[in-house]
Amino acid sequence: MPILSTKAARWMLLPGCALLAITLVGPLLTTLVFSLGERAANGGYQPALTLTNFIDIATRSSAYLSTLKLAGLGAAACALVGMPVAYFIAKRLTGPWRFIMLFLVVLPFFTSFVARTYAWYFILGGRGLPALLDWMGFGRFRLLNSEPAVFAGVVYAYLPIMILTLFIAFDRVGNDLIEASYDLGRGRIETVFSVVLPLALPGIISGYTLVFMLLSGEYLIPMLLGGGKVYFIGNAIVDLFLQSRNWPLGSAIAITLVLMLTLAATLSQIAQRATTHADRAD
């Protein structure tokens, strides 16, 4: 027996669908329409039907390249750093410690993103780490406004969510299989590489994709830590919307970003399916 009658269920869905209409469907359709329009003389949007905006995207190609590069490398670094930690929490800890450690890892993800990025701005800024290094006699360095600074910022920001997804992936690998591997005379490290990692691979791919997608839409970190030298798709969008007020081109870039992420998610689904061991699917 269902909880609600069909009629009552439809009424319950109504407010949610209204929300979807005004915050998702409406905005995305408007963006699509704007992307086919022209920039009005004093900025904004003017109705038109043209594809020039999608051709003009080529003028922002460096933003796409730099996003792909830093999102790809950043997600990879998060995965490499996150794997030992996630494995440790999932397989070496027992009892309440697992949950507590997991909470401590995820906690930063739920605390002010601006404040955490600002913390790096503070540390890498002229009076932070560079001043300390200078005082210790290593000479004067400029750390802020560089690619490595942005890289450190993105790894710091997205490591918690990566560890969380990797934890779920490792947690699913049955302890019985690990025991069996030990019984058959394999060492710890060998077991990790021949049993745990292959079985956790779909989860690792999904964690990588998640962080890659989150990073691709990043604006704040390149803005604060890259100081305009590192330019993401997000920075291009903000500039077009809030500075040069070329809304149609900004909309077109946003649409390509969504398409790019859809492609990434689809490829990831295919890769996850290909690496799943069907006999152990639970």
């Binding site: 909880i3 905005p27 930063p108 739920f110 009076r127 704040l220």
Partner: protein, 276 residues
């Protein structure tokens, strides 16, 4: 592996600790620690701009939490009673709302709301025969609440659905056997059972909305939220007051997150006790 994990924890926590330390620092110079002082908190809390941003953020987060928790729970309940096809479509739409980057949601909301504002103003003026468009609503708290409610509601839907999956069919049948109507069963059996999930959903929505930056950056108009205000201040230069504001924001999010942790922990324990 233990040492590596410890190092990662240090990496995750040291930057935040530095901010907290310096917010209590006496010196106006932000690079040396000289002594304990609360004066930057006093100064930050006396700033009308910062306080305005804080009240904006609190109002928005509170409204978003209430709206998302109610709408999300209604959607999760409603999904159980409609055709599988409708269920799939609505669930997929909310997943899309969660998966699309904030920057796209932000700019899409900006163009949609600005079109809606100018469109509705001209329409109302036209229908009433007024010569000039009137301001009906503008960018500010309502637009931020609407945009935040999308991803928060999507999150609540997922959380409440997880909980609804644990509802025992037997309870519903027993309730019906005892002559309870569907409404009574919903009110006395189902709602108390999903209440913890609704609470967790509301608290998470509060934290996420309170901390959200990029969407608010696009649609908050002239009335910034705290993250937007902080971003603007950072660009003007680091001050000790900023450290104090950041520490306040951090401790608020940590406080609410710890409550979520305790509620979830309690729920897990009760769940295992029931299963045993």
């Amino acid at each position: 592996m233990r040492i590596f994990t410890l190092l990662v924890f240090l990496f995750l926590y040291i930057p935040v600790t530095v901010i907290v330390l310096f917010s209590f620092n006496e010196a106006a110079n932000v690079s040396v620690l000289t002594g304990l002082s609360l004066k930057w908190y006093v100064k930050a809390f006396a700033s009308p701009l910062a306080m305005n941003a804080l009240t904006n953020s609190l109002t928005i987060a509170l409204c978003t939490a209430v709206i998302s928790s109610l709408l999300g729970s209604a959607v999760a309940l409603g999904l159980s009673g409609v055709s599988p096809r409708a269920r799939m479509i609505v669930q997929a739409m909310f997943m899309i709302g969660l998966a699309i980057p904030g920057i796209v949601i932000g700019l899409a909301s900006l163009v949609f709301f600005s079109a809606a504002i100018s469109g509705s103003e001209s329409l109302v003026a036209f229908l009433n025969g007024w010569p000039k468009p009137v301001k009906l609503f503008s960018f500010g708290k309502p637009t931020v609440i609407a945009a935040h409610s999308l991803f928060c509601t999507a999150l609540v839907v997922e959380i409440v659905l997880l909980r609804l999956r644990q509802v025992n069919r037997g309870w519903l049948e027993a309730s019906a056997d005892l002559y309870a109507t569907r409404g009574e069963t919903l009110y006395r059996i189902v709602l108390p059972f999903i209440a913890p999930a609704m609470l967790v959903g509301a608290l998470l929505s509060f934290v996420l909305s309170f901390d959200e930056f990029i969407i608010a950056f696009f649609v908050s108009g002239p009335n910034p939220t705290l993250p937007v205000y902080m971003f603007a201040s950072v660009k003007r230069g680091i001050t000790p007051e900023l450290n104090a504001i950041a520490t306040t924001v951090l401790s608020m999010s940590v406080f609410v997150s710890v409550i979520v942790f305790l509620v979830v922990n309690q729920g897990l324990r009760r769940g295992t006790a029931a299963a045993a």
